[in-house]
């Protein structure tokens, strides 16, 4: 490392790089940058690295084969080993609620976090760094339907996450429904872990991938993955129903059965095709939403994706539109674990070059860019195939809750749009409180935006939240004197 960098660190107590998120993209970025000589802080809400994809049980659970619930565990093991051998400062249990520009002289960022298992404010922490890599991942997109608030209805990714880390199932007989390739992975995990999966219900159709031949041919690993899941589902006698959706959940205190209805090409339910399937749980999800509020709060440019979600607009080296702020993985568009690794490493290399004042070049960078382009093309095809059709609101009844936190029904949103003239999600929110509760619209945002557009093209929600996670007032009060985590003395 050049003398100038170390001197700067010593005088300012700065990391060269703060990475937010220790999933596949963040790990790859942190390790790549540290191996090139940067001082790196890696913050994550979880106590373990791996993010959602490589969620795994705590050591006390003594899982001798955690890889049984994962694909490509060796890639993660390798990154974990490199992390252990590196100088990266891993800060687990840190919930980042905001990133701001340093208020003193100098061009740096302040990353504000609260610690504790669920960020309940054990102590506020501030990490200062010259560059920030946002590897914040994604969360699941949900579309409401009658009965989706009943206990036993869980996110498809949520069921997978609870299985991977807690080794538990939401029920013994679990229907998996929604749209997107994650459903196949979830169904095969649940079946392998002993659940009966009577059906996987996919609202779109896999044949639509055939309209994207180039994306398929250049990403053979995706076809292999699909075949692996397909074979597992066959082995467990799981039926896959395409062009269908769960349009109602039955039960009083918990799930007892679901109604599966065929859909037309616009996702409108076809009358008279409803079939009841007995089950005690439903795992449901309609793809993933990039988690980008830390970046949008700083004014980063976003782009709309073919599935109606919004991601960060990035340059060819993973830079956002704001200098010094970078992103990798799902925050730039949902594309899977291999894309996350690729982008993380590319970002790590590019940030190191900028901090060290050296040019970015070389065969490795060219190869990473090539791989990224190929996988981004597949991600776009995937988003197009699984984009929600305009007819899904026909599943709703007036008494169906759309906003789970504030218990705002479809009828009230309809009233705000039809009678009170709301034309966008924000106006609906102001009139009904939809999206104003605990989750700040993470669960209902996509649905509300769609309902506000009255069947037209929905403008994706802006993902603007001043606080990325709730912060106790005591943590804000202590802002003047937070614990500042600084890099260790390089000598």
């Amino acid at each position: 490392m050049p003398d100038s960098v170390s001197e700067f660190q010593e005088s300012h107590g700065l990391y060269d790089l703060a990475v937010i998120g220790a999933g596949s993209a963040g790990l790859a970025g942190a390790v790549a940058a540290a191996e090139l000589g940067l001082s790196v802080a890696l913050l994550d809400t979880s106590t373990h690295t791996g993010g959602q994809f490589y969620r795994h049980p705590a050591p006390a659970v003594g899982a001798v084969r955690p890889e049984a619930l994962h694909h490509d565990w060796s890639a993660y093991s390798d990154l974990r080993r490199r992390l252990a051998e590196s100088e990266v400062r891993h800060l687990p249990g840190h919930h980042v609620w905001s990133v701001t520009r340093g208020e003193e002289d100098g061009d740096f960022w302040a990353v504000h976090a609260v610690t504790g298992a669920d960020g309940d404010g054990e102590r506020p922490v501030r990490v200062r760094a010259r560059a920030v890599l946002l590897a914040t991942g994604a969360y699941e997109r949900q579309l409401p339907f009658p009965g989706w608030t009943l206990p036993g209805v869980v996110g498809a990714g949520g069921a997978q996450a609870m299985l991977k880390s807690g080794l538990v199932l939401p029920g013994r007989k679990v229907v998996v429904a929604g749209s997107g390739p994650l459903l196949l992975a979830v169904a095969s995990s649940l079946a392998a872990a002993g659940a009966r999966v009577p059906a996987v219900v996919e609202a779109s159709g896999y044949l639509r991938y055939a309209r994207h031949p180039r994306a398929l041919v250049t990403n053979p690993h995706k076809a292999v993955e699909a075949l692996t899941h397909g074979a597992a589902l066959l082995r467990h006698r799981v039926r896959v129903r395409v062009r269908s959706a769960v349009t109602e959940v039955h039960g009083t205190d918990r799930v007892e059965a679901v109604t599966v209805t065929r859909l037309d090409r616009d996702w409108r339910p076809v009358r008279g095709t409803g079939r009841r399937i007995e089950c005690d749980a439903l795992a449901v999800g309609h793809g993933l939403v990039p988690q980008i509020e830390l970046a949008t709060a700083l004014g980063c440019t976003t782009r709309s994706l073919p599935d109606g979600t919004r991601a960060l607009a990035l340059d060819d080296l993973q830079g956002t539109s704001v200098r010094g702020l970078w992103a990798a993985g799902e925050a730039g568009g949902v594309g899977g674990v291999q894309l996350a690794y690729t982008e993380g490493e590319l970002a790590g290399v590019a940030i190191a070059a900028q901090v060290l004042g050296s040019p970015v070049h070389g065969g490795r960078v060219r190869e990473l860019k090539r791989r990224r382009g190929r996988m981004r093309a597949f991600a776009d095809a995937m988003a197009t195939v699984h984009a929600p059709g305009p007819g899904w609101p026909r599943w709703l009844r007036d008494d169906t809750d759309v906003c789970r936190c504030e218990e705002v029904t479809a009828g009230r949103i309809h009233e705000a749009v039809e009678d009170l003239g709301a034309r966008d999600a924000r106006t609906v929110k102001l009139l009904t409180r939809a999206g104003m509760g605990w989750c700040q619209g993470r669960m209902c945002g996509a649905a509300v935006a769609c309902l506000a557009s009255r069947g037209g093209t929905a403008e994706p929600p802006l993902e603007r939240r001043p606080f990325a996670t709730p912060v106790p007032l005591a943590a804000l009060a202590a802002l003047d004197a937070p614990v500042v985590d600084e890099p260790r003395d390089p000598s």
Partner: protein, 104 residues
């Protein structure tokens, strides 16, 4: 075919420990979240909503939806899917916003 998730990954956990849910004893494993311990005992709901008083439990499983809020050892609004279960924890159903004691 594996019969349980624990079989699948060859889990050899530390001995389980008791926690209580609304006074009833439930067994948890070290390293499990409160939500996982409750799911493991077949309990899917541990909160009632503010307006409708309807039951809710873990939904997103990753700390995003806040549907799994529980009162843990007297402290309301803890995200049960993130908080690790500890021996002797008293988990109680959270009613409404969980601040009934303050009268707000």
């Amino acid at each position: 075919m594996a019969r349980t998730p624990a079989d699948l990954v060859g889990a050899q956990p530390d001995p389980p420990f008791p926690v209580t849910f609304d006074g009833r004893t439930v067994t948890a494993l070290h390293g499990q979240s409160v939500a996982a311990a409750l799911w493991g005992a077949g309990i899917l709901a541990w909160r009632t909503t503010r307006n409708g008083g309807r039951p809710r439990g873990a939904f997103c499983g990753i700390g995003q939806c806040y549907d799994c809020l529980a009162t843990i050892n007297g402290e309301p609004n803890r995200r049960a899917c993130l908080v690790p279960a500890r021996p002797g924890d008293a988990i109680t159903t959270q009613e409404g916003h969980g601040r009934a004691g303050l009268g707000v």
